[in-house]
């Protein structure tokens, strides 16, 4: 057991940190998200140059062959800086879809564009009634000649408004709630019959509603077994949650840092408010919540690649519970300790607070995952 970063890992961390420090201060971030696609294309290209998009892919596919720890390092740094570029959507989520479902030929066709940053995919799974159960998908993919015809609506597609294509989860058999009968389809954004409506999200990012009116895709758009997509979907979810946990920890870390700095500097009644013991203790509690969350983000990264599904699910859910709780506690108290300025758009802290709230609601909030852990009998040791 070793918590030190390897040389390669340190390299990734240092280069991302350096780039973000130079190009992604809070004011720069506000400029990036005001740019046309909702993020900075220049920054996106810098990420590509650092090789960040290659991280999760196998070397055979043109990737770095790195794993969840490297993703954790990147996402944590992104969380600190509140990065709005579609890394989670394109590299983590659809990247996982390609790794777990696509054939070598499909990967050869799609991965290079992702690694270079010239294409950006988004993962379309959510529908009106999906909520936190990814098997609850109704959208149909019907066999049509050599390919499939997709009809229905997707919503809350992260970064779907500017993606160059989608990985779409749709139903080839069964009914919403069945894990069998789901397939993953690669659909280019310009496909005939596909329309989208983009919208801003509460945390300053972008997403879209998609409407599929008899969109025809060829056979080679099917990633893996068109009725057996569930294991890949479950892995996408696990890897997305692990990445979100890391992002959340980066953001929490930044909130603790900002808050500690703020209370040291802010004066009231003639003294820095850090002189008040209740605020000291609150900051200590925030720090503890951060460290507990960090531990669980590490645990999630350790477990994201776990092949035993029950163990993986328990670990990922447990991490999501801790992150949700720590994130809420830290976020609410960071705002509280900032006082009035904490509830303005002009200060960084409010943006972290909102991001935390949205992370909690992504793929199931803390209580949803607590129920999953409880229903599985708890965190029984399997060793």
């Amino acid at each position: 057991m070793d918590f030190d970063l390897s040389e390669e890992q340190s390299l990734i961390k240092d280069s991302v940190t350096r780039l973000l420090r130079a190009e992604y201060g809070f004011e720069a971030r506000e400029k990036h998200r005001a740019e046309e696609p909702g993020f900075s294309k220049k920054i996106w290209q810098s990420f590509a140059e650092l090789g960040l998009f290659a991280i999760p892919f196998d070397e055979a596919d043109g990737g770095l062959g790195a794993g969840p720890v490297e993703t954790m390092i990147v996402m944590e740094a992104f969380g600190r800086a509140l990065v709005v570029e579609p890394y989670l959507a394109s590299v983590v989520m659809t990247g996982a879809a390609l790794r777990h479902a696509a054939s070598a030929e499909q990967r050869a066709a799609i991965v290079p564009g992702l690694v270079e940053g010239t294409s950006r995919l988004a993962f379309a799974f959510a529908e009106r009634a999906t909520r936190y159960d990814l098997s609850r998908i109704a959208m149909e993919a019907k066999r049509d000649g050599g390919g499939f015809r997709l009809s229905g609506e997707k919503t809350l597609v992260l970064h779907g408004d500017t993606a160059t294509g989608f990985v779409v989860a749709a139903r080839t058999a069964g009914a919403p709630g069945d894990t069998a009968g789901l397939g993953l389809f690669h659909v280019p954004a310009e496909a005939q019959g596909l329309s989208r409506r983009g919208f801003e999200t509460q945390d300053g990012m972008r997403a879209a509603e998609l409407s599929f009116a008899d969109v025809i895709v060829p056979q080679d758009a099917v990633l893996g077994d068109p009725e057996g997509g569930w294991p890949a979907i479950a892995r996408i979810e696990a890897e997305a949650i692990a990445a979100l946990c890391a992002e959340a920890v980066g953001s929490m870390e930044r909130m603790v840092e900002l808050t500690v700095a703020y209370i040291k500097e802010r004066k009231q009644f003639g003294v820095p408010i850090a002189a008040f013991q209740v605020l000291q203790h609150r900051a200590s509690e925030m720090y503890m919540a951060l460290e507990q969350a960090r531990s669980m983000a590490i645990f999630a990264a350790m477990s994201a690649g776990e092949s035993d599904e029950a163990a993986r699910r328990a670990a990922i859910s447990a991490a999501k519970v801790q992150i949700g709780r720590s994130g809420r506690f830290i976020g609410q108290n960071a705002v509280q300790l900032h006082g009035g300025v904490g509830v303005t758009m002009e200060y960084e802290i409010a943006h972290h607070f909102k991001r935390q709230a949205m992370i909690d609601l992504a793929f199931g909030d803390a209580d949803h995952h607590l129920k999953l852990v409880a229903d599985a009998g708890g965190m029984d040791e399997r060793d």
Binding site: R128, R136, T155, L156, Q202, F269, G340, V343, M345, M358
Partner: protein, 400 residues
Amino acid sequence: MDLKFTPEEAAFRAEVRAFIAENVPKDARETLRAGRHVSKDQLVRWTRILNDKGWSVPHWPVEYGGTGWDPIRQYIFLDEMQRAPAPQMLPFGHSMVGPVIYTFGSDEQKARFLPRIANLDDWWCQGFSEPGAGSDLAGLSTRAVREGDHYVVNGQKTWTTLGQYADWIFCLVRTDPQAPKKQMGISFLLIDMKTPGITVRPIRTIEGGHEVNEVFFTDVKVPAENLVGEENRGWDYAKFLLGNERTGIAGVGATKERIRRLKEIAKAEPAGTGVVWDDQRFREKVAAVEIELKALEMTQLRVVSAEARRGHGKPDPASSILKIKGTELQQAATELLMEAIGPFALPYEAEEIEGRNEPPVGPDYAAPIAPNYFNMRKVSIYGGSNEIQKNIIAKAILGL
């Protein structure tokens, strides 16, 4: 000890409820039930309906337009307003500067301002907070210098709620910087917002709305007749003002209304094979808030009833409990709304406050939920942060 409302009190409640049900403008009520903010126009219309009935400033002395209700009746009235829901009176004229004027103002000020407050002919805003002062209100530095029959005001106020609509602002200004204590040397001025030299800059708040402002004063000339009471005694009037707004601070009725909406949404929002409300844990979380709220309602009634005994206008340090618990529950209800709506909290409607153009993403009740949650973080900060309230309890009640 008789813990039921008397038949007279019950009849009064029925009367209030019926009046509100019949008279509150439908559009305003729907706006509120959807968790959105009422417009200036909606508020003005409703205030004038109440004023016609003689109920727009119920807690004022009868001679200035008040009703003569005892504290329990005032509580019932407010509770019914929050639960209806009907637009609540803006506190700035109604509960803040109004009582200061009728208590400390000149006869001319009374005659000039009070009727216009009661009818919301003048929209008032508050000029107390300054940047860098926070809970240390007396640390203000806006200066007013007497020159002949005018004061010349220079400085800056902040957190000025709805100042963008205001006709008048009441300000604490420093008139004697040499005073031995910072609480001395402060005066209470009424300032026409149309006076040259006043600039209002919006502050965008966390949820994206425009609710508060900064107000800048550059050589603003204020007639000396707009001084309330005596020069350099403004801090006394401010303390009176701050201690005055107790009933309803807990927002029990508003939280009840929010929980009603929460249940409605949880019963509509799909989850698994059913709806969110099917989840035992979720129902228990709602019940836990309802129970604390019931306790708070009883606590509030005890405070109100003690006030009825003790005589009006003396703030009870126990009202700090109302502030702390009340705001915690307001926040808890908005958290539960977020949990109920789940992933559909995500879309942001920039136009939300002004009225929407496009169909919503997800259910039509979703859009205000996340903004309300974000915005409600302020309630534990403003009006004396909850940390300050705990200091008050420790000192004034427990003697620590």
